[in-house]
């Protein structure tokens, strides 16, 4: 992966000028490369990683992993039904899987009630959906490479030779 992307993936606040300094490039070059990535959809958006485990429970949300078995359709395979499903805003992630089921969804709602409503009223009635298995998430420890806890304090001596 291009180092510009590696740097931004780690900290998207890094400015083109700072990246230019780190890579010994002209800032114009970096800015142009980033524009290109944005235009091509390599960089989709910039956002903060929020540790929702730290947010008070009443503001929090409930998450579930849902395994979905689907009957594939002629010519379009799973893509069409996947699209029907991932358009729902409750669905935060959607993956096509190998193994005993076909789609894996991550679904988020204000309560267990809302998620079960979504499954009963939206997901299961879909024509090609053959069955679902729902797992509620109890606690998140790590997500996309980030540990979901307060950064640990410095363990090194503040000065050494």
């Amino acid at each position: 992966m291009d180092e510009i992307l590696e740097i931004l993936e780690k900290d998207s606040r890094t400015t083109p000028e700072e990246i230019a300094r780190m890579l010994k490039k002209k800032s114009g070059f970096v800015r142009k490369a980033i524009k290109g990535y944005e235009k091509d959809g390599v960089i989709l958006k910039y956002k903060a990683v929020i540790n929702k485990e730290m947010i008070r429970k009443e503001d929090g949300s409930v998450r579930a992993l849902i395994e979905v078995r689907v009957a594939p359709q002629k010519n379009v395979g799973f893509d069409h039904i996947a699209e029907r499903i991932y358009q729902f805003p409750e669905v935060t992630s959607c993956y096509l899987m190998s193994g005993t089921y076909d789609l894996l969804l991550v679904v988020e709602g204000k309560s267990i009630h809302m998620i079960s409503n979504f499954i009963a009223e939206k997901l299961s009635p879909l024509e090609n959906v053959r069955g679902t298995v729902t797992h509620f998430l109890l606690k998140k420890y790590k997500e996309d490479g980030d540990l979901l806890k307060r950064p640990r304090s410095e363990k090194r001596l503040a000065i050494s030779l």
Binding site: R21, M22, K24, R156, L157, A158, I159, S160, L161
Partner: protein
Amino acid sequence: MKMNKKAEIIPPSGIRAFFDLVLGMKDVISLGVGEPDFTTPWNIRETAIYSIEEGYTSYTSNKGLLELRHDLSRHLKSAYGLDYDTEDEMLITVGVSEAFDLALRALLNRGDRVLIPEPCYVSYGPIVTLCGGEPVFIRTRPDNGFKITAKDIDRYCDKKTKAIILNYPNNPTGASYSREELKGISRAVSRHDLAVLSDEIYCELTYDFRHTPFPMLAGMKERTVYLNGFSKAYAMTGWRIGYACAPREIIHHMTKIHQYTMMCVPTVSQMAAREALKRASGSVQAMKREYKRRRNYIVSALNEMALDCHRPEGAFYAFPSIKKTGLGSMDFSRALLKEENVAVVPGTAFGPSGEGYVRMSYASSMENIKEALVRIKRFLNRG
């Protein structure tokens, strides 16, 4: 009580008071740390935990676990083309520090002179003294990138000169040597029939060219003690594990001293080191890329604020000149600490030719480096 003369002669670390000042302060942004800011990669830590669970808690061979020496021998061969015999030419030690001490104890007789390019790591001079030798410091200068040349060796050598200590990439200057530069040095080493102690602990962190181990140069293997370890490349400073590779005779004597003083390196650290050699090269490369970006950033920012700084070729230290501020190294460091809560190490900690310089470690998060540089700029503008 009457104390040992040599112990009395060696100076206490001159900047102890400054260190105590830093350690006593809160919320300091420190660019004064001489070790990686990464934690040891998890696969290495996990292997160590497992080895304890499995009951690997006894002594190992004095020379170190045979399996570790095998792995190490393979690693040195494939990474650098170095060829050392597992049985006779390798010794696993408690960090490079122990290996360095053993090598000097094995080699030096009273009055032998040892050349030490300076500024240098703090322990070289005192250990030479403790081993009965006489340190002879070669001053290096920024206009030559803080490097020595064959001419320097010629100038400083006399009949009593027994050995030279090399350390590249260098702590504190970050200077390193290309193969061509080393060739010149090796010719002077042969001319004066010197033993070489080559401390290459930072070798994996060489950014602009391929690192050449000193024993790879023609005729140098038979006179070199090659010193290296796991601390810097694998972020394993606290495990205290390093090694020496050298001709059979030197290792033989070093091993005797080691067996009477240290017996062996802690077994858990040796198990961890095996895992490091086997499965951590990806982590090493990722850390190196990150260090390189930080180096480029800090050097360019320092030069922009008129703290002249040569570009270090390795390690994780920038060594800018602070002469333009009109302050000495210690005064600069104290004032920066007091006024802006930023810690750096005065260049004088590494010898008198470090006067006018400070060491800034970029083994610190990018965020810390950026904030420290903002504060340093503010400090300079205040004049």
